[in-house]
């Protein structure tokens, strides 16, 4: 059975391998198992990357279990055929305001909940968090009908209503994401020492000044994490964009994927190139801002 190695300082080190000892002779097992799992997990993406650079005629002739026929034409064609320029622009003008507004409103709610002992502050938080968890499809009908009935000036949307407008989609995203962010931020803000506010109040600082000069700067790490997470989520958001925007040329990148299907039906390499183009922003986040993304995701689950 396992031999008990007590007292060795190494056993105490948190990071040291916990299994066996050098005597167990099975130390290579774990790395091999994990490497195999990792490669299996990476495989679908690697397959897409490799095939996105391959010529359709080549793979049609030799099949996918082959090597060669490399080209970058798929990317050029995918970009042109799918009008990615316009869809990336749409994603940008939906995602950026939605993320900023979500974070700002969440900060407001979290600040009030964390800073003042409202009797109902927990109920308030529950009100927001529950909203975040409801299935969006279940709310579709009333939202859809309301948006269709609400008219907006033409400078807000050329459709004349909230339906088929970026403003409407941004608002829906904000409404759904505020709960999660407010929850995470209020936990974060609660940990700030109250003495900070005390001295600020003595200095005569009003609520707004406390909010902008004390709370927000101290929340920068949490805000960075949430900003990265929300950017990914709203960029990836598919359902609301698909049902609330009626014209294909208004679709953000993620929803426009569905249009590609028909056009690219016979050419999987082109689909692969299109998929990679769509994935680029999130892959950048993955490689550059990984730390923030993970922090944002786990903040809510583990109470920071």
């Amino acid at each position: 059975m396992t031999d008990i190695t007590v007292d060795t300082p190494r056993a105490k080190a948190r990071r040291a391998p916990r299994e066996g000892g050098p005597s167990s002779g099975r130390r290579w097992v774990m790395p091999v198992v994990l490497t195999v799992i990792s490669l299996i997990w990476l495989f679908p993406i690697l397959l897409a990357v490799v095939n996105s650079f391959r010529d359709y005629a080549y793979t049609a002739k030799y099949g996918y279990v082959s090597w060669g026929g490399f080209t970058i034409d798929n990317y050029k064609n995918a970009w042109q055929q799918a009008d990615f320029g316009i869809h990336f622009w749409n994603s940008l003008i939906i995602t950026v305001p939605a993320v900023l507004l979500t974070l700002f409103l969440s900060c407001c709610v979290a600040f009030v909940v964390a800073r003042f002992s409202y009797r109902f502050n927990l109920a308030l938080l529950g009100f927001f968090l529950a909203a975040n968890l409801l299935p969006p499809q279940a709310l579709l009908i009333p939202v859809y009908r309301m948006f269709r009935a609400i008219t907006v000036p033409l400078w807000v949307s050329d459709s004349g209503t909230l339906l088929n407008s970026f403003a409407g989609l941004i608002l829906v995203n904000v409404a759904f994401q505020t709960g999660f962010c407010a929850f995470v931020l209020s936990n974060y803000m609660k940990a700030l020492p109250r003495e900070l506010y005390e001295s600020a109040v003595i200095d005569g600082a009003g609520v707004l000044r406390q909010f902008f000069t004390i709370t927000l700067p101290l929340c920068r790490p949490a805000l960075a994490a949430l900003a990265v997470l929300q950017t990914t989520w709203i960029y990836n958001e598919f359902f609301w964009a698909t049902v609330l925007l009626q014209q294909g040329d208004k679709f953000p990148v993620t929803s426009s994927l569905n249009n590609l299907r028909g056009q690219f039906f016979t050419d999987n390499n082109l689909v692969a190139a299109g998929s990679m183009i769509v994935a680029i922003p999130t892959l950048i986040i993955f490689f550059v801002l990984q730390r923030h993304f993970v922090a944002g995701l786990t903040l809510g689950a583990t109470k920071g």
């Binding site: 396992t2 008990i4 007590v6 056993a11 948190r14 299994e19 774990m30 994990l34 799992i37 490669l39 997990w41 679908p44 397959l47 897409a48 095939n51 049609a60 996918y64 279990v65 409103l105 407001c108 409202y118 308030l124 927001f128 909203a131 968890l133 409801l134 299935p135 499809q137 279940a138 709310l139 579709l140 009908i141 009333p142 939202v143 608002l171 759904f176 505020t178 407010a182 109250r194 003495e195 005390e198 707004l208 960029y235 990836n236 598919f238 698909t242 993620t254 929803s255 299907r261 999987n268 692969a272 998929s275 769509v278 999130t282 990984q290 993304f293 995701l297 786990t298 689950a301 583990t302």
Partner: protein
């Protein structure tokens, strides 16, 4: 911790500050009320009516539970959809989630190269489920897919109603396991190492230590993982919608609701009844989640 001398309520605030504090709460509350809670109530109310979405609101007739009765009896896709949602949940609960937990536990042992393993497994999490559907098409496609190329088969993995749910579930599990791994890994890092050492000194094997010591103290995370799994299974939509808009073997409650509103036949009352069924199921889960999330405060 904090000094409890002051700050009992908003008493100390000037009138101007009271207005500001009020606005800080009221504006977000109104947005969420308007776009989440009112629609939720609206769905429930409309589900008892026969509105077709065309006539004026004054034409709406109250029809009791007629819509629910129709759904259960004369709406063919309903029971398959329920069945598919349950299968979806079953696969996530019994396969994808335990797999994610297993990965987290293996990675948490701290072998060299942890970062690589962790990153590889959670890479799919940053991709949208819609995109996941497209990436797996390269494997599943009938004429050009890798799976058929290797096996020499001719199965249309996304099209054949006998297999397409399972094909979608493999793709969904691929992403879900990474998500759960991340959540669980964060939880494992918070477990007091001395617990494990005590178990080790007592001669407990690693498996035993996990199930008897680590798993029980992870209760809050376990419940969050559980609720996330249930809610994601109920909300599953994007993946099947990009495959075939949730038809032909891929019916889910979420796609049925959507088809009834956006599709050719807009049956508002009927679709609302489907939506209400979703709301009823999710409210149980939401309640469970809120209790855990708020308990620690």
């Amino acid at each position: 911790m904090a000094s409890k001398r002051k700050y009992r309520g908003i008493d100390q605030l000037s009138t101007r500050d009271k207005v500001i504090v009020g606005l800080m709460v009221v504006v977000p509350t109104l947005i969420v009320l308007w776009l989440v809670w009112l629609p939720a109530i609206g769905s429930v109310l409309l589900s008892f009516t026969n509105w077709d979405g065309i006539g004026p609101l004054s034409d709406i007739k109250f029809v009791g539970v007629q819509n629910y009765h129709d759904i259960a009896t004369i709406y063919p896709p309903f029971w398959p959809a329920i069945q598919h949602n349950l299968i979806w949940l079953g696969v996530m609960f019994f396969i994808a989630t335990p797999l994610g937990i297993l990965f987290a536990v293996l990675i948490d042992r701290g072998v060299a190269g942890t970062r690589f393993y962790q990153s590889s497994i959670y890479l799919p999490v940053v991709l949208s489920l819609a995109l996941v559907g497209f990436i797996w098409q390269l494997i599943y496609s009938r004429d050009q897919g890798l799976l058929n190329a290797i096996t020499g088969g001719t199965t249309d993995w996304y099209g054949d109603p006998d297999v397409n749910l399972w094909a979608a579930l493999v793709a969904a599990s691929w992403r879900h396991a990474g998500y759960i791994m991340l959540l669980y890994l964060a939880g494992l890092k918070g477990v007091d190492p001395s617990l494990r050492e005590a178990a080790k000194i007592d001669g407990a094997s690693e498996t035993k230590t996990f199930f008897r010591v680590v798993f029980p103290v992870m209760r809050p995370i376990n419940i969050i993982v559980l609720v996330v799994t249930f809610i994601e299974s109920l909300r599953a939509f994007d993946l099947v919608w990009v495959i075939n808009k949730g038809r032909n073997g891929l019916e889910l409650i979420s796609t049925l609701v959507t088809q009834n509103v956006v599709g050719e036949a807009s049956r508002i009352g009927f679709g609302s009844a489907l939506a209400t069924i979703m709301l009823a199921i999710s409210s149980v889960l939401v309640f469970a989640y809120l209790r855990i999330a708020m308990k620690e405060d």
